[in-house]
Every structure is written in structure tokens, then in C-alpha cells.
């Protein structure tokens, strides 16, 4: 087992080194006032990185780089992508809300009941959500054993209580099950963009999307992506004008 772990570690070491080297180069470029170069290096690092926390950090840094380049809506999109990896990062949320305000978009968290609930259930990553359910299930198993072997009001209440706890703890996981399959795109072109009937500039222009609009992907072609507009129609948008939040 030890030998196996060593082999895996040795195999991963070059990749980690390369990623860290790219990260350091990007940081140097960023500090030198060249966010475009930093952006390119962080994107390269992102393509090589597998760890979710690290991907979240890279998306966050890419958001900062986009903001420094003056692409505020794209910075918003990068921060939204980072939220998928590090949903409880306070600095990330502050940067996100700051950039949304700069871009004159609605706050991501308006602070009302619906948004607070949404933020609560989405505050765990997929792995954390599953482990939360697993811990609750362990408690349920214990209470179920006690209830089956000993009976009585106390064990029955414990059993029902842990059952309720399992249901509550399943909320973040259900959130991920529903939303992880979404392939959401954000319109990042500062002037918005046009929705075409076909993947061609010559086709009919059916809608105008505002910057910051979130749309679901239906199909993809080189340079074009088909997105569902609020009316449910599938419209083609140039890939350069939109940004996939799934990273």
C-alpha cells in the first residue's frame, strides 16, 4: 500500500510542480501590472489542476485579473464559477457583489429570505454535502438500532429526530443533484449580445441579451453556443460574448 501511494505521489509531483510554477508566474505578472498575461497563465494552470479547492482559488484569481483588465462582467462570471468550488469564501462573495454593483447587476444575494435559503443550501461543496448526509445516516443507523432492539419513547423520538436530520442534511445534496447538471452561461459582452436563429451572423436576429444574463446551454458548435432564452427558445450566441460558468 505504501509503495502504491509513493508511486501515485511521484506520478502527481511533476503536475503539481508545473501548476505551481504557472501560478507563481501568473502572480508575478499580476503584481507587475500585466493582468492579461496573468490571466493566460492562470487559465493554463486551471486546465491542469484537478483539486477542487485549488480550481476555486484559480477562478477567484482569474476574476481579479478580469476586473483589472476592465472586464467587469467577465470578472462576475469567474467569481460565479469559483463559487462552485469554494462557496463559503467570504472574500469571493465580497468581490462578487462589488463587481456586480460595478456592472449595475442585481446583487447575487439580495439578503431576502429566498436568497438566504439558497445561499444556505448551496454553501457546501458536493463532497461536503455527501459527507454531511453520511454523518446524519450514521446517526440514523444508531437510532434505528436502538429503536429496533430497545423500543420505547426515547429511542422512537431519537429515530424520528435523526430521520428529520437526514432529510434536512440532504437539502444541500439535493441542490447539487439538481443544479450540477446545469450548464449555465453568462453574457459577458458589456453591451450585451444578439441571439440569432442559426449559428450565423447572417441569420435572423431574434433577441438581444443584456450583459450579466444567465442562460442555459442547449447545444454547442465551434465559436457558437445555443442558449435557452427566458421564453424557452433556443438562440445562438457567439461564444466570445458568453462565458460558461462550469469550469
Amino acid at each position: 500500500m505504501l509503495l502504491l501511494l509513493t508511486c501515485i505521489g511521484l506520478a502527481l509531483l511533476p503536475v503539481q510542480d508545473a501548476t505551481e510554477a504557472l501560478n507563481q508566474s501568473a502572480l508575478t505578472a499580476y503584481r507587475a501590472g500585466d493582468p492579461a498575461a496573468a490571466n493566460a497563465l492562470w487559465i493554463e494552470a486551471l486546465e491542469q489542476e484537478a483539486d477542487a479547492q485549488e480550481r476555486g482559488r484559480l477562478c477567484y484569481n482569474l476574476g481579479n485579473a478580469a476586473y483589472r483588465r476592465g472586464e467587469v462582467v467577465q470578472a462576475v462570471a469567474w467569481y460565479h464559477s469559483a463559487l462552485g468550488f469554494t462557496p463559503r469564501n467570504g472574500e469571493l462573495w465580497k468581490n462578487l457583489e462589488f463587481c456586480r454593483a460595478e456592472a449595475e447587476l442585481e446583487p447575487a444575494d439580495r439578503g431576502d429570505l429566498a436568497d438566504s435559503f439558497k445561499r444556505l443550501v448551496s454553501s457546501l461543496t458536493r463532497g461536503e454535502a455527501e459527507w454531511l448526509v453520511a454523518v446524519a445516516l450514521a446517526g440514523l443507523a444508531l437510532a434505528a438500532t436502538g429503536e429496533a432492539l430497545r423500543g420505547g419513547a426515547l429511542w422512537r423520538r431519537l429515530f424520528l429526530g435523526t430521520g428529520l436530520l437526514v432529510c434536512l442534511s440532504a437539502a444541500p445534496l439535493l441542490w447539487h443533484l439538481v443544479h450540477d447538471s446545469d450548464s449555465t452561461w453568462m453574457i459577458t459582452s458589456s453591451d450585451g449580445c444578439t441571439g440569432f436563429s442559426e449559428p450565423s451572423e447572417d441569420s435572423k436576429r431574434l433577441a438581444q441579451f443584456e450583459a450579466g444574463a444567465l442562460l442555459q446551454e442547449l447545444d454547442r458548435l465551434p465559436d457558437w453556443v445555443k442558449l435557452a432564452d427566458p421564453e424557452g427558445r433556443g438562440l445562438w450566441v457567439r461564444s466570445d460574448d458568453a462565458f460558461s460558468l462550469v469550469r
Binding site: 505551481e20 483539486d51 482559488r57 468581490n95 463532497g127 455527501e130 445516516l137 420505547g152
Partner: protein, 571 residues
């Protein structure tokens, strides 16, 4: 006779429907052929001999207003004629007709559908003569004051109807064909106090009426009432207002419990009138005109003039006057020149009769700001028939720079920059996902195992939470304190007996003096001979000590060990 009819009706419900039906007949007529203008009459329709009849809407007659059709009222009477039972079914409809002018009228026959056949009744048109109520014109009046002949779309106008009488005691009714809603106009609030009285209008509604000072008409004092409303024209075209009627019912005799009152009705009419609604001209219409029409003025005020950079100033802009204050879009400051250095946090929009009040929460983002710029609004003025720009005065303000660049936490509205990039690699790692499918399987497995084990335990051992089961489980735990408290061999013997009773479910007395060898041989699984021997020996020792004079307790550990061994056997 009336009582007899009731009895017959009841009997008809109880009897089988074998009675013969008479033929169908239709009667249509007016309650009165001659009426005074302002009074109403009824069109009555009787259909005998069927339950299957419908009345069509009457044809339009200029000068007559037909009310809604009331009915049908269906009555069924059965009569005994010798041995024969005759059933008579009658359907009755009524409709109120109100003339709006004097003259001779002919009401065409009314269309009906009876037993699936269309017919018209009566055969000839019904004649109606409407005459002027000269006496009513002497005692009552109604008039419309200062009505504009034309207004612009969106321009408010006042409708001032005054009516009165020189009679003292009676009831007032108003008949306004266009009340309470009129196509093409919206009623708007004026903020005036409520009226002195609430008078009925069109028999179904009520309106606030204000009593004015009495006036002299031809030397006779008249009480005068006013119905004032403000309307706003919503579309261009002609607004028609039909004849308004004021009816005063003078009380000749008040009604009592035993008799109906007697009234004499007087009527007065106001001529029908029209208002021409003109469209807002396209010529000269500014692109940023947001629909304001009227003669409006504006005012502004702020809650503070000295503010820190990033602080909030509430700018309240009010537009007053005679106009459609409720219906135009307030200026959007984000799109106005001069407001680039302000952030608009919130807008509160309110309307108070003749005033539109909008409060903007502004955040100055730089200390270079010295004033809040004017807020313009384009208004179409019906008087000058042109678009006018109504502008607030600028407000001088001072914005102080916040001189604390090392402030730990950014406050709302303060200058704030991004949190810096994250330079260190993430320390934590995301826990390895377990898989939702596995978790689902685990949940189902737990529930399944719980159900199976619960069922098995209860079938095999009964309810584990029953008192006997709980005592059995607690027997050893309760034995230890009992032995500690025992000061004699007799007490120890009693404690052991109680322990055995708890374990076996038998009474404690059954274990005192029991022949253990015989008892063991009757069990399905016999006890270990060594255990049985120790048990018998322990009993003998306790008995020997108990029956001696000293009654000294024996070693408690022996009893505890034996009890633990007994538990292990499953007793």
C-alpha cells in the same frame, strides 16, 4: 283561497306527475303607457304553460334605456277539477325602462324562445308616451357646471353636477347613465373631504354628495347639492354623457308597520353633453417625455447637505398641480446628465391626490461633487398646447472625503476595491465524494434493516419496551444496590429472589424455597450442573445463616457472580 293554493302546491309535489298541461300562452306588456320624463316603467313578460322559455334582449330604441332582465319567477299551481288534476306553470320576467327624453316611442315586439320555437310578442309594437314633468321642473333642478368642451388625452377634468329642490321632506335619487364607470375615462382622487351625504345613484350605487349654501331661484329658496368628480381621459375621441335625472320623492305619508308610505315624485333632467378628447400632438414631443400632462410645478428637498463620501442623501422631488400626477414615469436619475458621480440606491415613489412625490437615495461617490443637479421632467401643457420642461433647482451640497485609507472593513458606499488575489495554494481539500447513489442505497439499507430487525425482535421477544422486558434488562443493575443495602442473609435472599423474579417474570415468592433440581429438569434447556450446584450451595448457605441467630450476611460477590452466570444462561 290563498291557503288552498298553498296546500294544492304542496300536494302537487307529493303526487305523481300525471296531470295534464294546458297550452302555452305569452303575454308581454308595459306597466304604464304614459310616464313623466325621469320616471321609470316596467316591461312585463308572462309565459304560461311551459318551463322551457327564454327572453331575448330587446331591440334598441333611441331615447329609452332598458335595464337588466329580472327573472324568471316560476310558479306552479295544481287545481283539482273533479277527478282531473290541472297543472298551471307561469314564468314571469320584468325589465325596467327609463326614458331619457320626451316623445312618442314604439317598442318593437320582444323576441322569446318557447319550447324551442322562436316567437315575438305582442303582435304589434308597444306604444309609450313620455311627457315633460312640468311640476318637477318647478320644484327641482339639475345642471352641469363649467364643463370643458375639449381636453387632451391624459388631462384631468372636473365634472360638477349640481341639483336641488325647494321641497323639504323626501327622498333623493340620481340616475346617471354613465355612472359609475365610463369608457375612456378614469376617476382620480382629488383629496377633497368626503361629502355631506351619501345618495343612491341608479338604484344600485351610492355617491358622496356635498350640500352647498341654499340659492334663490325665482324668489324661492332651494337646497343645493353637489356631485363633484375628477376624471382623466384615457383615449382620444368623443366622450358622451347621456341625460342625468334628479328624482325627488316627496313624502305624503310615511310608511308604518301596517301600511306603505305614499310619495309624490318630481323629476328634473340635465341635457346630455359631450367632451372632445384630443390626442397628445406628435409634433415637438421630446424623446424623453414620459407621459406627464397638465399644469405642473416642481419642488425638491434634501435631508442633508453635508455628507461624507459614500454617505446617503435623500433627494425628494415633488410635482404638484392639475395633471396626471399618478400616471407618468418619474425621471430615472441613472440616465440623467450630471448624475454620473452619484449612485442611486433606492427610489420610493408615492402619490397623494394632486402631488407625485419621489424620493431618491443618492450616494455621492466622489468628494468633487458640489451640487445635486436639476431634475428635469417634460410635461405637456394643455393650456399652451406645447411641451414644457419642468426643472428643479440644483441643491448645493458638500461631500467630505473619507480620510482613512487603512480602514479595516469597507463600509457600504465607501471606496472599496477588490480583495487581493489568493497567492498561497489552498490548504484544505474537498472531501472525496461518496456518491449520491451509495448514500441512497445506505438509506434504504438502514430503513430495511431497521424494519426487519424490529419485526424479528418483537415477534421473538415481544415488545422490548414493555415493563417486564425493561425489568428483566435492569435486574442485574438493580441487584447490586439491593445487596449493598442488605444487612442480613434474609435481605440478601430477598434481593436474589427479586432478581430472579425480574428475570423470569414470576413472583419473587415463587423463588423462595424452590427445589432447583426439579425446576431445572423441567426446563427445555437444562442448567449447567456446576452452576446448579453453586446456586443450591449459595441458597443453603443463605438459609443456614438466616435461620441462625446471628443472620449474618454472606459474601455479596458470590451472589453477584451467580446472578451474572444466571443472566448468561438466558433466564
Amino acid at each position: 283561497m290563498g291557503r288552498l293554493s298553498v296546500i294544492l302546491c304542496v300536494l302537487s309535489m307529493l303526487m305523481p306527475a300525471t296531470a295534464a298541461q294546458q297550452g302555452v300562452s305569452v303575454q308581454v306588456g308595459l306597466s304604464r303607457p304614459l310616464v313623466k320624463l325621469g320616471d321609470d316603467l316596467r316591461l312585463q313578460i308572462h309565459v304560461d304553460g311551459t318551463r322551457d322559455a327564454r327572453v331575448h334582449a330587446p331591440d334598441h330604441v333611441d331615447g329609452l334605456i332598458f335595464g337588466p332582465l329580472a327573472g324568471p319567477q316560476v310558479s306552479q299551481v295544481q287545481e283539482f277539477q273533479g277527478r282531473r288534476v290541472t297543472t298551471r306553470i307561469t314564468m314571469v320576467w320584468t325589465m325596467t325602462i327609463r326614458p331619457t327624453r320626451t316623445g312618442e316611442f314604439e317598442i318593437p315586439p320582444i323576441g322569446l324562445e318557447v319550447d324551442g320555437k322562436d316567437l315575438r310578442a305582442p303582435d304589434e309594437p308597444m306604444s309609450l308616451r313620455v311627457i315633460q314633468d312640468l311640476e318637477g321642473a318647478t320644484h327641482c333642478f339639475i345642471e352641469v357646471k363649467d364643463l370643458p368642451t375639449q381636453v387632451y388625452e391624459g388631462e384631468p377634468f372636473d365634472l360638477d353636477i349640481r341639483f336641488g329642490t325647494d321641497l323639504t321632506s323626501g327622498e333623493v335619487d340620481l340616475y346617471l347613465p354613465w355612472w359609475p364607470t365610463h369608457r375612456g375615462v378614469l376617476e382620480i382622487e382629488t383629496g377633497n373631504p368626503r361629502g355631506t351625504y351619501r345618495f343612491p345613484v341608479n338604484d344600485r350605487h351610492e355617491a358622496d354628495i356635498t350640500e352647498l349654501d341654499p340659492v334663490q331661484r325665482q324668489g324661492v329658496p332651494f337646497r343645493v347639492f353637489q356631485l363633484a368628480r375628477r376624471y382623466l381621459a384615457t383615449r382620444s375621441g368623443t366622450l358622451d354623457f347621456d341625460t342625468a335625472t334628479f328624482q325627488f320623492s316627496e313624502v305624503l305619508r310615511r310608511s308604518t308597520v301596517f301600511s306603505a308610505g305614499r310619495y309624490k315624485r318630481y323629476h328634473a333632467q340635465a341635457s346630455p353633453f359631450q367632451i372632445e378628447v384630443l390626442p397628445i400632438p406628435e409634433e415637438g414631443r421630446p424623446l424623453d417625455w414620459t407621459g406627464a400632462v397638465g399644469e405642473l410645478t416642481t419642488q425638491r428637498r434634501v435631508d442633508r447637505r453635508d455628507v461624507d463620501e459614500g454617505g446617503t442623501i435623500s433627494l425628494t422631488v415633488s410635482w404638484f398641480g392639475r395633471g396626471n400626477t399618478e400616471f407618468f414615469d418619474a425621471p430615472d436619475l441613472k440616465r440623467l446628465e450630471g448624475f454620473e458621480d452619484f449612485r442611486v440606491l433606492a427610489v420610493e415613489d408615492n402619490h397623494f391626490s394632486d402631488e407625485r412625490r419621489v424620493t431618491y437615495d443618492l450616494v455621492p461617490t466622489t468628494s468633487k461633487i458640489t451640487e445635486i443637479p436639476p431634475v428635469p421632467l417634460w410635461v405637456f401643457s394643455p393650456e399652451s398646447e406645447s411641451f414644457e420642461r419642468v426643472v428643479t433647482d440644483p441643491v448645493a451640497v458638500r461631500v467630505r472625503a473619507v480620510g482613512d485609507p487603512l480602514g479595516a472593513l469597507p463600509l457600504a458606499g465607501d471606496e472599496f476595491d477588490l480583495f487581493d488575489v489568493h497567492t498561497e495554494p489552498a490548504t484544505g481539500t474537498d472531501p472525496t465524494p461518496l456518491g449520491a447513489g451509495r448514500l441512497g442505497q445506505a438509506t434504504l439499507s438502514i430503513m430495511g434493516l431497521w424494519f426487519v430487525s424490529r419485526t424479528w425482535v418483537r415477534r421473538r421477544r415481544g415488545d422490548p419496551s414493555a415493563p417486564t422486558a425493561r425489568r428483566r434488562r435492569a435486574a442485574l443493575r438493580r441487584l447490586r444496590p439491593a445487596l449493598k443495602a442488605a444487612h442480613s442473609a434474609s435481605d440478601q435472599s430477598a434481593a436474589l429472589a427479586q432478581f430472579l423474579a425480574d428475570r423470569s417474570g414470576e413472583p419473587a415468592g415463587a423463588w423462595l424455597g424452590r427445589d432447583l433440581t426439579t425446576w431445572s429438569s423441567t426446563r427445555s434447556t437444562q442448567l449447567d450442573p456446576d452452576l446448579l450446584k453453586r446456586w443450591i450451595q449459595l441458597g443453603s448457605d443463605m438459609d443456614a445463616s438466616a435461620w441462625s441467630d446471628a443472620d449474618q450476611p454472606i459474601d455479596g460477590a458470590r451472589i453477584t457472580n451467580l446472578a451474572r452466570a444466571i443472566c448468561a444462561t438466558g433466564i
